[in-house]
Assembly symmetry: C2
Homo-oligomer: 555 residues x 2
């Protein structure tokens, strides 16, 4: 097999990624700052222009089996994108993809890794364009749309490539086997081990993190030799359409059929995901979204390996602190960031009824609650900063939820409508904070900027509730503030028993709802919120199988 030029071009980055995932020290392949020095003086403007060039047109994607168009994305900043996409006839598309995937599946691992790395590299170069696409579909503020939608998503894609690459390379391509037979001649066999993909991987995107949550599955499938059908959420198609287009370009240039990566767009009126998910050719499914649909996939798509990230109810526990101000500031940012539309945003804040100890002495329950409420309010008092951090509300459902829960008599902090220059119709709201009245009110996920303060007997009580909640309702993040090592040890025990990652005493620039690729695992696969983690060997190793041939060497 010839050496792949794309592999040679990117192998140093790949090796560093593997190494980083093993040390779990800080490393990134793609700079997170939208700096002209890194991305070019005109990158921002070029990206915005590229984004604008898509508006009110049909997105060109020349894949087979399309008829008519579909698409009705709206920017949460208050305008229709007006983009339509070719509408795939999946009964026509799937057989073509299933045929076209063969030469890709037979390419050697290095070649496939090279192609994946080149796609990631080109995605990186178009981070601004993708950032605008992410911003105006998800509602994320620009900085977050750039970072989470661009470099951080690319890092997560690379991380999946690194894990899969290393795992595939664990098995040698061939072996020479010599078994001694005492006085007799040894038994000798030559063996060949072939990496064989599963088939077609279906990657189902979500409306809030279309790229970040899709890239791991997309690239894990691709590098292991599978074809990928990308099925974006109807509300956030463009970032994935651009992604698919780039992937198709690179595949074609590398001599493969572009149909190894295709796009299926649908709308709420005629959803196709269920039909796609049950196709016999679909052997892998990656899904981020509701618990209901995730469970449906797990129960019904029996022909496929199903990786799901579903709803969770994230908790934070306040026990004590030696940096009260830092704690409050950290929580305020955490609750505000992207208006809580992250699967990692805490929903329930547990505070002991007797209050807490701080560096300034005791603070009562009411004082702690008031400080948090005031902290969030103050953090969002400047309209410009607020809109940049909050972003806009992605869905009508979240807007309706905010309205419904704002009408209760347990409101601690009411949401405020934040105006944004240049986007008069943007729907931007500051967080809603409620006082929990009974367990049933706060134990289910209320997606969006809605959180509860839960008064508990003490921290032991808080931790018991958290443990039960994570086990039964799932969670992706968990934070605790305590100046007691034994309480932290107890919290770690709860985290291990219920299966959720925990952050201790965050008071600076790291937030419980953020994870860093190569160092932090996203989700654990150990509670109902997700059946896999991004990324580990379990996430990649069953996306392909090894088929062995053996024979006695001649002569």
């Amino acid at each position: 097999m010839s050496v792949s030029p794309l592999f040679e071009k990117h192998k140093e980055t790949l090796n560093k990624a593997i190494e980083a995932s093993r040390t779990r020290e800080y490393w990134t392949a793609y700079p997170e700052m939208p700096s002209p020095k890194v991305y070019g003086e005109t990158a921002n403007k070029d990206g915005e222009n590229a984004f604008k060039s898509y508006l009110n047109k049909t997105f060109e994607i020349d894949q087979p089996g399309s008829e008519g168009t579909v698409g009705a994305e709206k920017s949460p900043y208050g305008f229709d994108l007006g983009i339509t996409y070719p509408k795939a006839d999946i009964d026509k598309l799937v057989p073509v993809v299933d045929e076209m995937r063969n030469s890709w599946g037979k390419a050697d691992v290095d070649t496939r890794a090279g192609v994946c790395m080149e796609i990631l590299d080109r995605l990186n170069k178009r981070s601004f364009e993708i950032a605008f696409a992410v911003m105006h579909t998800t509602g994320q503020g620009f900085m977050m749309a750039f970072q989470a939608g661009g470099p951080h998503a690319q890092d997560r894609g690379l991380e999946a490539v690194a894990y899969a690459y290393e795992d595939m390379k664990r098995t040698p391509a061939s072996a020479h086997w010599v078994k001694p037979q005492g006085k007799h001649d040894p038994l000798v066999m030559d063996k060949k081990f072939t990496i064989v993909p599963r088939g077609i991987g279906l990657v189902i995107g979500c409306s809030t993190f279309p790229t970040w949550n899709s890239y791991p599955g997309l690239f894990a499938n691709l590098v292991t030799g599978n074809a990928v059908i990308v099925k974006p959420h109807p509300g956030a198609v463009l970032p994935l359409a651009i992604t698919v287009q780039i992937a198709r370009d690179v595949l074609k240039e590398a001599g493969f059929s572009p149909d190894v990566v295709t796009l299926v767009v649908d709308d709420a009126a005629a959803p196709v995901t269920k039909e796609l998910a049950l196709k016999d050719e679909v052997k892998l499914i990656d899904f981020t979204g509701s618990t209901g649909f995730g469970n449906w996939l797990e129960d019904n798509a029996k022909q496929a390996q199903v990786y799901t990230e579903k709803a969770g109810v994230n908790c934070i526990v306040i026990d004590s602190t030696d940096n009260f101000r830092g704690m409050v500031g950290n929580i305020a940012f955490t609750l505000s960031l992207y208006s809580g539309q992250m699967c990692t945003t805490p929903q329930n804040i547990f505070v002991p009824e007797g209050g807490i100890e701080t560096e300034d002495g005791h603070k009562s329950y009411d004082e702690v609650v008031a400080a948090i409420v005031k902290g969030v309010e103050k953090f969002n008092s400047d309209d410009q900063r607020a809109s940049a951090v909050l972003g806009a509300i992605q869905s009508d459902a979240t807007m309706a939820r905010i309205e419904k829960y704002s009408a209760g008599d347990n409101v601690l902090l009411a949401p405020r409508e934040v105006p944004m220059e240049g986007f008069e119709n943007a729907r931007i709201r500051t967080p809603l904070i409620l006082e929990a009245r009974d367990e049933s009110s706060y134990k289910e996920e209320l997606f969006g900027p809605i959180s509860f303060v839960v008064k508990t007997k003490d921290t032991t009580d808080s931790l018991a509730i958290v443990k039960d909640s994570v086990k039964n309702h799932g969670a992706i993040s968990f934070g605790i503030w305590s100046s007691s090592d034994s309480v932290l040890a107890q919290a770690e025990e709860v985290a291990c028993e219920s299966g959720v990652a925990v952050s201790f005493n965050l008071t600076g620039g790291v937030f419980v709802n953020q994870t860093a690729a190569f160092s932090d695992f996203h989700a654990t696969g150990a509670n109902p919120a997700a059946n896999a983690a991004l990324s580990d060997t379990a996430y990649v190793s069953n996306r392909y199988r090894v088929i062995q041939s053996r024979w006695h060497p001649k002569g």
Copy 2:
């Protein structure tokens, strides 16, 4: 954490096992020859005595929650073992196991690996005792019972430990993360990664390879920190009872609760497997047995990760050969070994209607068939050799199947009853070979010494049938004889597309139904016969999860 003395004792073997699984060159930890030089001058006699000491008694195993006894094993060599076992009350046992597993789950990986290796080492030292137990439950001939039931099973157990150990060690126990912030101080975090087991692993044994098929799941679960409940087939309890006893001894000596490994024996009248498999505490299930029960587990035990090896229909294709005699001899041994009661024994033999080319010129279809029939007949003509290789028929169902199919009008070779000195009531039969009349007759698994010769148009036709058969009915082995490289390439293509391992031109001492640990994967996980392979990363990496804690270092 203190260094584990058991780990120190065995770490060189573990490292060699990891290395062997990576090179896939020949290596074994446990000598396969039942030689007095290796196992001791009195090992054979001691083992036989130990076996006999169990007969007509209650097997002592002091685990909690037992009431009464159960057990009715019969030796296929014609006598009742008369052994009973404590009958577990699973509603009492499971909660105890679930509690007792905690300290085991928290032990460090090295400690757990040391305990697993010590168990394997003691199993090895008791290979003769286990061999007699395997022989007189499964019906395997003594040599096979020793090798497959002893050292080969131990190797497969070690292989699972090696994969799991390496995968767990891939994630560091801790990391120091420093993220530059331009002119500002970097963000610094300390991170801890804890390996957390799933819970209780249920290992469901089969009647033909009680140790070989159970050890991978048993040891994969154990080393990853799970407790294990071993549920043997009612017909082959003793080998696993001895195994559990040894595991309990080692656990106890190492300071853990012996209840980390327990035994649940039932009988056909009151089976408990379904109830056990649905217990919420059971998070992992390893099963070898019927397709029906395997599918039931996959569909119903939703709280668990389920690894199944089910029925398959193995095929061999005869295209041409430059060693006709070697081929026939190899096939004769393959069909005879343990009377085809291996999940890897070929059932269907595809021969082109136009015959084949050989080193002696053309042989017609009839000549090929006659040679195979004669080869099998001749191979088993000597009673002593025949009984040693054939072993005895394990189950009444297989006996009934032989009788039923012997009564047809398509018999090419009728089974012969083989007498065995010392075991007058042994049920030993030579293989039954049938001529296939229609597809439906040979496409389902007929477990035991029953095979079909299938006449095809040509090898292309043979391969097309094989591909379809593997895809739809599953297979664990596949063999082809051809002197054409292009036909072999075609066969390899079929193997990769349908997902089965393939052996080419076996004419010597390697057989299509045998695999060697560390070099050959057993099953592929890519066709209906099994959803996993023994062993690879996919088989081990989801038996535990990683839970992360992180915090800013103080000062």
